[in-house]
C-alpha cells in the first residue's frame, strides 16, 4: 500500500466517524433543539472522529495491519490534532458561548472568551504540579506535558464512571433489588397528587376572588368620606392583605408538596417499567450481562490479567465498544436532564471535551489490558509518561467511586420503601 492510498484510506474512515458523530448529534442530542451555530456541531463531530481514530489505531496495532512506521506516523498525527482540539479549540468555544449568554459581556465577546481561555490554561497547567506524572527530563513545551494533564482528567473521569457503572449496572438489572410496585400504589399516589392540585386551585381562586373584591372595594373606598369611613377602609384592607399572605404561604407549601408527589410518582412509574422490562427477553439478557460484568469488575479490582492475544483483542474490542456506547448514553441522559435552549451549545461542547479526554485516557489505560508486545507503540508515541501512576490512580478512584456508589444506592434503596409506607 503506497503512501497515497494509505492516506485516502485513513481519511475515508475518519469521514465515516465524522458522519456518525454528526448523526448522533442531530438525531439524539439536539433532536429537540434548533441548531443555530453549526460550529458546535462541527467541533463535536471532529472531536468524536479523532477520538474514534485512536481506537482504530489500537486495533490496527494488535492486528498488525499496515507497516509499523506508518502506524507510528498516524498515531503522532492524530495525537497532535486531538490535543489541539481538546486544549485550544473546544475550551475557547466553551468560553465564547458562555460569554455570549451573559448580556453584560456581549460587546467584547472575543476578548472575554480569550480571557476565559487563558484562565483555563492556567488551571490546566497547575494541574500537573501535585501529580508525579512526568520524569524530570522533559522540557516545558513538550507533548508529554499536555498529554499527562489530559490523561489525569480523563482517567479520573473514567474511574468515576466505571466505578459507578460497575455498581449501578447490577443494581439496575438484578431483580433482587427491585421493589414491588403495584398499579394501586401508583393510582394512590396519583390521587394524592390530584387532590393537592385541587387544593391549590381552590386556594388560588380564593386569592383571586379576594383580590378582585379588594380592587372593587378600593374604588368605593375613595368615595368613603368622614372619620369612620377612613377607619373602615384602613382596617378592611389590612385584614384583606393579611389573609392573602397567609393563603399564599399555604399555596407555596402545597406547590412544593405537589412537586414532590409528582417526582415520587415518576419514580414509581420508572420502577414499574423497569420491572416489566426485566421480564422481557431483552431484559433477561441484560440481566445476565449485569451479572457477568459485575463479576468482571470485581475481578478487575483484584487485578488479574490475561496474556493471550485473541482474548486480549476481544476484550479490548468489547471495552472500546461498551465504553463508547456507555459514554454516549450517559452523556445523552445528562444532556437531556440539564440543558435548555440557551445553554445547549455550551453543554454539548463540554460533553465533547469530556468525551475527548475520556477517549485519550482510555488509550493510556488500555496499555494495562494489552500484552507486552503491543504496549511498545503506545509507550513510544506517548513518551515516557509514568504509566504506573495512571494505573494506580485509576484503581484508587475506581474503588472510591464504587464504594461511594454502593453506599449511595443502599441508602436510596432503604429510603424508598419507607416513603411509600407513609401513605
Amino acid at each position: 500500500l503506497c503512501t497515497y492510498h494509505r492516506f485516502i484510506f485513513f481519511f475515508c474512515i475518519q469521514v465515516l466517524f465524522f458522519g456518525f458523530g454528526w448523526l448522533f448529534f442531530m438525531r439524539q442530542l439536539f433532536k429537540d433543539y434548533e441548531v443555530r451555530q453549526y460550529v458546535v456541531q462541527v467541533v463535536f463531530s471532529v472531536t468524536f472522529a479523532f477520538s474514534c481514530t485512536m481506537f482504530e489505531l489500537i486495533i490496527f496495532e494488535i492486528l498488525g495491519a499496515l507497516s509499523s512506521t506508518s502506524r507510528y506516523f498516524h498515531w503522532k498525527l492524530n495525537l497532535y490534532v486531538i490535543l489541539l482540539v481538546l486544549i485550544f479549540v473546544v475550551p475557547f468555544y466553551i468560553g465564547y458561548f458562555v460569554v455570549s449568554n451573559i448580556r453584560l459581556l456581549q460587546r467584547q465577546k472575543l476578548l472575554f472568551a480569550c480571557m476565559v481561555w487563558f484562565t483555563f490554561m492556567y488551571f490546566f497547567w497547575k494541574l500537573g504540579d501535585p501529580f508525579p506524572i512526568l520524569s524530570p527530563k522533559h522540557g516545558i513545551l513538550s507533548i508529554e506535558q499536555l498529554i499527562s494533564r489530559v490523561g489525569v482528567i480523563g482517567v479520573t473521569l473514567m474511574a468515576l464512571l466505571s466505578g459507578f457503572g460497575a455498581v449501578n449496572c447490577p443494581y439496575t438489572y438484578m431483580s433482587y433489588f427491585l421493589r414491588n410496585v403495584t398499579d394501586s400504589d401508583i393510582l394512590a399516589l396519583e390521587r394524592r397528587l390530584l387532590q393537592t392540585m385541587d387544593m391549590i386551585v381552590s386556594k388560588k381562586k380564593r386569592i383571586a376572588m379576594t383580590r378582585r373584591q379588594m380592587y372593587q372595594r378600593g374604588e368605593d373606598q375613595n368615595k368613603q368620606t368622614g372619620f369612620w369611613g377612613m377607619i373602615k377602609s384602613v382596617t378592611s384592607t389590612q385584614t384583606g392583605s393579611e389573609n392573602l399572605s397567609l393563603i399564599q404561604q399555604e399555596v407555596d407549601a402545597l406547590e412544593e408538596l405537589s412537586r414532590q408527589l409528582f417526582l415520587e410518582t415518576v419514580d414509581l412509574q420508572a420502577t414499574k417499567e423497569r420491572i416489566e422490562y426485566s421480564k422481557t427477553f431483552q431484559g433477561k439478557y441484560f440481566n445476565f450481562l449485569g451479572y457477568f460484568f459485575s463479576i468482571y469488575c470485581v475481578w478487575k479490582i483484584f487485578m488479574v490479567k490475561f496474556w493471550s492475544q485473541h482474548i486480549s483483542f476481544i476484550l479490548v474490542g468489547i471495552i472500546i465498544v461498551t465504553s463508547i456506547r456507555g459514554l454516549l448514553i450517559t452523556l445523552t441522559k445528562f444532556f437531556y436532564a440539564i440543558s435548555s435552549s440557551k445553554s445547549s451549545n455550551v453543554i454539548v461542547l463540554v460533553l465533547a471535551q469530556i468525551m475527548g479526554m475520556y477517549f485519550v485516557s482510555s488509550v493510556l489505560l488500555m496499555r494495562m489490558s494489552m500484552p507486552l508486545e503491543y504496549r511498545s507503540i503506545v509507550t513510544e508515541v506517548l513518551g515516557e509518561l509514568q504509566f504506573n501512576f495512571y494505573h494506580r490512580w485509576f484503581d484508587v478512584i475506581f474503588l472510591v467511586s464504587a464504594l461511594s456508589s454502593i453506599l449511595f444506592l443502599y441508602l436510596a434503596h432503604k429510603q424508598a420503601p419507607e416513603k411509600h409506607m407513609a401513605l
Binding site: 391549590i200 381552590s202 381562586k205 386569592i207 412537586r259
Partner: protein
C-alpha cells in the same frame, strides 16, 4: 365554589418557551420576575367575565394548568403527567418563535393531550402520526401563542408570521404572537386581549352551554395501558 364549576385549560409547549411567564401574565397582569423550570404542573387562576358588557355577564374562574417537560421525556414522566390531562376544556399551545423545533413539537404535544381525552377507556394508541381531521372536528378549543416575538429581527418577521399562520390553520386555532416580558401586549383593548378573551369565552361556552361535551369524571375507572414498547437503556 363547587368543584363541578371548574373550567380547565392546559398550557402545553416545550421546555423554555415561556409558558410560566405567559400564565403569570394572563392571570396576574404582571411580568413574571423569576422563571425557573416547572416540575410537574403549576396551576394559576384567571378571573374571566363571560360575555362582558352584556346583561348575561357572569364571572368564571378559569384554571390554567401549566405542564412542564418536553415531548422527548422518559415514558415514566409522560405516564405521570397524563393524569393532568383529564377533563380538559381548552388547550393553549405555546411555542418559541425563535425555535422552529418548538413549533413542530406542538403537533406531538397536542396528540399527547388529546388522545388522552378522546378515547373513552383511556387507552393510549398514539403512534405519533398527525391527523388533521382530528383537529378540524375537535371538541376542545385551541389557542396558539408564539413567544419571544421581540427577539426576531425586523427582516425575518414576515417569514415567521407566515409560518405561524400555517400552524394556526393546521390546528384550526387563533394565534397570538407576543413577548412575555412586556405587559402591553395584553393591555385592555388590544387585539391580543380581545382574542384571548374570545378564546376563554369560547371555552366557557363549550363547557356550560352546549350539550355534547363529554367529561371524564374520576380516575378510578380509568385503566391506563401503554401500548408503546418500553425503551430502557
Amino acid at each position: 365554589m363547587a368543584s363541578l364549576d371548574r373550567v380547565k385549560v392546559l398550557v402545553l409547549g416545550d421546555s423554555g418557551v415561556g409558558k410560566s411567564s405567559l400564565v403569570h401574565l394572563i392571570c396576574q397582569n404582571q411580568v413574571f420576575g423569576n422563571p425557573s423550570w416547572t416540575v410537574g404542573c403549576s396551576v394559576d387562576v384567571r378571573v374571566q367575565d363571560y360575555k362582558e358588557g352584556t346583561p348575561e355577564e357572569k364571572t368564571f374562574y378559569i384554571e390554567l394548568w401549566d405542564i412542564g417537560g418536553s415531548v422527548g421525556s422518559a415514558s415514566s414522566i409522560k405516564s405521570t403527567r397524563a393524569v393532568f390531562y383529564n377533563s380538559v376544556n381548552g388547550i393553549i399551545l405555546v411555542h418559541d418563535l425563535t425555535n422552529k423545533k418548538s413549533s413542530q413539537n406542538l403537533y406531538r404535544w397536542s396528540m399527547e393531550a388529546l388522545n388522552k381525552d378522546s378515547s373513552p377507556t383511556g387507552v393510549i394508541v398514539s403512534n405519533g402520526d398527525y391527523d388533521r381531521e382530528q383537529f378540524v372536528e375537535n371538541a376542545v378549543p385551541l389557542l396558539l401563542i408564539g413567544t419571544k416575538f421581540d427577539q426576531i429581527p425586523e427582516n425575518k418577521r414576515s417569514e415567521v408570521l407566515t409560518r405561524t399562520a400555517f400552524l394556526s390553520e393546521d390546528f384550526n386555532a387563533e394565534e397570538i404572537n407576543l413577548d412575555c416580558t412586556n405587559p402591553r401586549y395584553f393591555a385592555a383593548g388590544t387585539s391580543n386581549a380581545v382574542k384571548l378573551s374570545r378564546f376563554f369565552d369560547k371555552v366557557i361556552e363549550k363547557r356550560y352551554f352546549t350539550r355534547d361535551s363529554s367529561q371524564m369524571t374520576g380516575f378510578t375507572d380509568r385503566k391506563r395501558f401503554n401500548f408503546k414498547s418500553l425503551h430502557y437503556d
